[in-house]
């Protein structure tokens, strides 16, 4: 457990430290009109949709799958809700919003069921099965919005992103609640172990009596539902549905969050906490770029460099190389490197050198 914590924890800390030094006021939080404001609140608020999508993605990836369709589902759900609200007799009434949200989430479940059907029943490779909806889904969303951006003015719908409870944005509360729920479900029930068993060895799990098919189906439905909620947040934030751009490439952010969180794309062991940190890291990075005033034309490059560094530092091979260099420098009497990662500074290579394992343990592949 400690190891899972250690891995995804430090990039976020480094980013925050960077802001502490370079961006005065980054950590300032103020209360205004009954709602908290500040960069930290922004990170949580803006990061909520991707954090939710990454949560669903974590379970999908744990079963050896991947869900490329979540970005499209974000667009579809936003489009359907806004179209429903706009088409209802009273577009400002709570009833219109509730109806729209209900239809959108119902549709998300149906789309997830479709993905799950393709993967678990028809046995199509997840990347292909969900690619179908990734491309077709955005078309579907455009069909719903007729290619236009639908704007709505519905107080209840706006409250999803604009509302707050005890001064905390609703988006943050919803995302936190879903995380807590999933963490509980995977720890307190056998869900976590069974999902991991299916991800590590599907055939063995089936023969042991695990309902592998049902489980796989369920995680795709859950992933789509998470994306649906994320879609509501995103469209509510701007009170509009943009079928072309809502949720665009967010599936990749979600996957990246899972990977930064330390869950292997090969399936099996997963970490909910890790994914949360991964998602927060990505959002903090985006916010940092804004708060440091990095020019927009280099911001993507900056983001890319950070992501590459984070991924490199998680690669056992890269860490081994780094560890060797550090030791050599240490032996030569040089100063230790400027920024050692916080937390227990025990890099993996040291262990690999000293302990009984002569070569890095390899994952068993199917």
């Amino acid at each position: 457990m400690r190891e899972l914590w250690r891995k995804p924890f430090w990039p976020l800390v480094v980013l925050l430290l960077l802001n502490l030094v370079l961006a005065p006021g980054f950590f300032a939080v103020r209360l205004q009109d009954g709602r908290l404001y500040g960069s930290l609140v922004d990170i949580l608020h803006n990061g909520a949709p991707v954090a939710l999508m990454a949560l669903g993605m974590t379970l999908v990836i744990a079963t050896r799958g991947i869900d490329l369709s979540v970005g499209a589902i974000v667009a579809i759900c936003g489009a359907v809700t806004c179209a429903w609200i706009a088409a209802s007799p009273d577009p400002t009434s709570p009833g219109a919003a509730i109806g729209g949200i209900g239809v959108a989430l119902g549709l998300a479940v149906a789309l997830g069921a479709w993905n799950g059907f393709l993967v678990s029943v028809l046995g199509i490779q997840p990347i292909i099965a969900t690619l179908v909806l990734m491309t077709a889904g955005r078309g579907l969303a455009q069909l719903v919005t007729d290619g236009q951006i639908i704007t709505v003015n519905n107080p209840l719908f706006s409250a999803i992103a604009g509302g707050e409870l005890l001064a905390v944005p609703l988006t943050v509360i919803v995302a936190a609640a879903v995380y807590a729920l999933v963490a509980l479900a995977t720890r307190r029930t056998a869900l976590g172990t069974l999902v991991e068993a299916v991800g590590i060895n599907p055939a063995a799990s089936r023969l042991a009596g695990v309902r592998a098919r049902t489980l796989i189906w369920t995680v795709y439905v859950f992933s789509a539902l998470c994306a649906g909620v994320a879609g509501l947040m995103i469209s509510s934030n701007v009170n509009a549905a943009d079928a072309n751009n809502a949720g665009l490439w967010l599936e990749l952010d979600a996957i990246l969050a899972v990977v930064i969180g330390g869950t292997s794309l090969a399936g099996g062991r997963f970490s909910i906490t890790g994914t949360l940190f991964g998602a927060l890291t990505i959002q903090t990075l985006t916010t940092t770029i804004l708060s440091l005033g990095i020019p927009p034309e280099v911001s993507l490059v900056f983001k890319a460099v950070v992501v590459i560094v984070v991924c490199l530092l998680q690669s056992p091979k890269a860490r081994a190389l780094l560890g060797r260099r550090r030791r050599r420098r240490g032996a030569a009497g040089g100063a230790p490197p400027a920024d050692p990662p916080p937390g227990p500074p025990t890099p993996d290579p040291d262990r690999a050198d000293g302990a009984a394992t002569p070569i890095p343990a390899q994952r068993s592949t199917p």
Partner: protein
């Protein structure tokens, strides 16, 4: 069966390793081991899991650094930094798993990385010509242009050997090459090995199968716990002595097992399993089978005879086309394994790695997996999990006795015990074991067989499948013999003996005094894997 060439103990060996020690941290994997290999001999390297066979090979080929000792090849001291260097010096290794590209052609696989070139481009015609030469050397009648995965594992294995020997190969290391081959394929492999031996190649052969050692090897070196036990001329080494050299202490268990009396189950007892007319197209013709409580029923036959297929139908791992299965008098729906499991049927697949082991989970998680799956999402309390794990680790002598160890870090035999524990923890009425002793060391084999006998004595019904007929005959009260996907006979009581079963497998009809084939019993004894 093959003429033993006479390198003579006096002739200078092609390869000589003296005082080899390899340590991983505090663990000494090899401790002062001597090993020598002559040109033109097949040298079997024997030992239980963990004896140091693989370590010795890896020390030789430069995968692991050697802490002490020297390696002399062809009169010159060598130390390789890696397998590529070893190969350049004439030492090639073929591993248990085929490490080739299944989607490339046979010719491309044979020459991958050393294709003949013309003007900087790969010379396709040259590749095929060279491939044909290699295949001809092995007397292998295979189209070099055909994709590798269109061939059986055996042919793929032979292609790996072809890949290994086409460069100037002085030493060929075969690390358990036969573990996934059936009898004919083993024969084919041995034919190729004999030919290479005649060419003067020194062959180091690692296997778990005693029969194969006697069938092919000239000399045998036995390791135990990282130390050399001895080097023997195979023909002069009695089997019992070989086994005792390998296992030392554990022979007793095997001997005790021989004395287990097979109590004939009373016909009056209601059967725990009754299958009638169970079949699946392309897998097995209709079969009737009855298993009573306390009875071990063996399924005997070659690979592809339908023995595994039948076991899978009984468990619902594959769906039967016809027939009816009742367990304790209740008809099974036979749709999924869950139906069988809830009726009290347990099954371990012959393919332990792909269909049994959940390697990245702990021993504890693996032991409770079937119990947990039966309960659904309601988690088994941690204390109950710990108790179950501790109990089965003790009962089955699982090593290391650590419930938090990842299963993939255990040896094959201990993994198999964990899989047995997974099912025994569910308290099954009927246990279907498909090759439970495949690829595991002799000590664990004996323990598992003893366990099966104990379980039957306590009233469990057991269906037991093994390619090693002696094992089936030793354990089973009755044996159903399968041949060409259909049952040919059922033997019971006095009739259960290896010769009868072999006769039935070979001819399809059992005449006890029919002409016997002698000498090559491994052909029957190992029908598969």
């Amino acid at each position: 069966m093959t003429a033993v060439p006479q390198p003579g103990p006096d002739a200078a060996p092609l390869l000589e390793m003296t005082g080899i020690s390899v340590a991983f941290g505090p663990v000494r994997a090899l401790d002062g081991v001597d090993f020598r290999l002559h040109a033109g001999e097949v040298h079997a390297l024997m030992g239980e899991n963990g004896a140091g066979k693989s370590t010795l090979i890896k020390a030789l080929t430069g995968v692991y650094p050697v802490d002490a000792g020297r390696v002399v090849l062809d009169g010159a001291e060598v130390a390789f930094a890696g397998p590529a260097q070893a190969q350049a010096a004439g030492i090639s290794t073929v591993y248990q798993e085929v490490n080739l590209c299944p989607n490339l052609s046979v010719a491309e696989n044979l020459l991958l990385g050393r294709e003949p070139r013309r003007w900087g481009r790969i010379d396709g015609r040259g590749v095929r010509r060279r491939a044909r030469e290699v295949l001809a050397r092995l007397h292998l009648d295979v189209d070099p242009a055909s994709p590798l995965d269109s061939h059986s594992i055996a042919v793929q294995q032979l292609v790996s050997i072809g890949r290994a020997v086409q460069v100037d190969c002085k030493v060929l290391i075969l690390d358990e090459p036969t573990s996934s081959l059936d009898a004919d394929e083993v024969a084919e492999l041995f034919r190729v090995i004999s030919r290479l031996r005649a060419d003067g190649v020194a062959i180091l052969f690692v296997t778990h199968f005693l029969d194969q050692v006697y069938a092919i090897s000239d000399r045998t070196t036995v390791l135990r716990n990282g130390r050399l036990v001895g080097e023997y001329r195979t023909a002069e080494l009695p089997r019992l002595q070989l086994v005792s050299a390998m296992v030392g202490r554990e022979l007793e268990t095997l001997e005790q097992l021989e004395r287990v009396p097979a109590e004939p189950a009373s016909q009056a007892v209601a059967p725990v399993l009754a299958a009638s007319g169970v079949s699946r197209r392309g897998a097995i013709e209709p079969v009737d089978l009855v298993v009573r409580p306390g009875e071990v029923v063996g399924l005997a036959g070659l690979l592809g005879s339908g023995r595994t297929e039948l076991a899978r139908l009984l468990f619902g791992a594959d769906r039967a086309d016809t027939g009816e299965i009742t367990v304790d008098g209740t008809v099974l729906p036979m749709r999924t394994p869950r139906d069988a499991i809830s009726a009290g049927v347990a099954f371990t697949s012959e393919n332990r790695g792909a269909e049994g082991v959940v390697g990245d989970l702990t021993v504890r998680d693996n032991i409770v997996l079937a119990m947990q799956a039966a309960r659904g999402l309601r988690r088994i309390p941690r204390r109950a999990q710990d108790e179950a794990a501790a109990r089965w680790i003790e009962v089955l002598d699982i090593r290391p006795p650590d419930p938090d160890a990842l299963l993939r870090n255990l040896s094959g035999g201990n993994q198999q015990k964990v899989l047995l524990a997974r099912w025994l923890a569910t308290g099954p009425r009927l246990l279907i074991l498909d090759e439970p002793t495949r690829g595991i060391d002799v000590g664990a084999k004996a323990q598992i067989q003893a366990l099966v006998a104990d379980l039957a004595r306590e009233g469990m019904g057991v269906v037991y499948i093994s390619a090693e007929l002696e094992e089936v005959v030793r354990l089973a009260d009755r044996v159903l013999v399968l041949r060409d996907r259909r049952p040919v006979a059922e033997l019971a009581g006095e009739d259960v003996e290896v010769d009868r079963v072999m006769e039935l497998i070979a001819t399809g009809h059992g005449e006890p005094d029919a002409e016997r084939r002698g000498g090559a019993d491994w052909e029957y004894g190992r029908s598969d894997a």
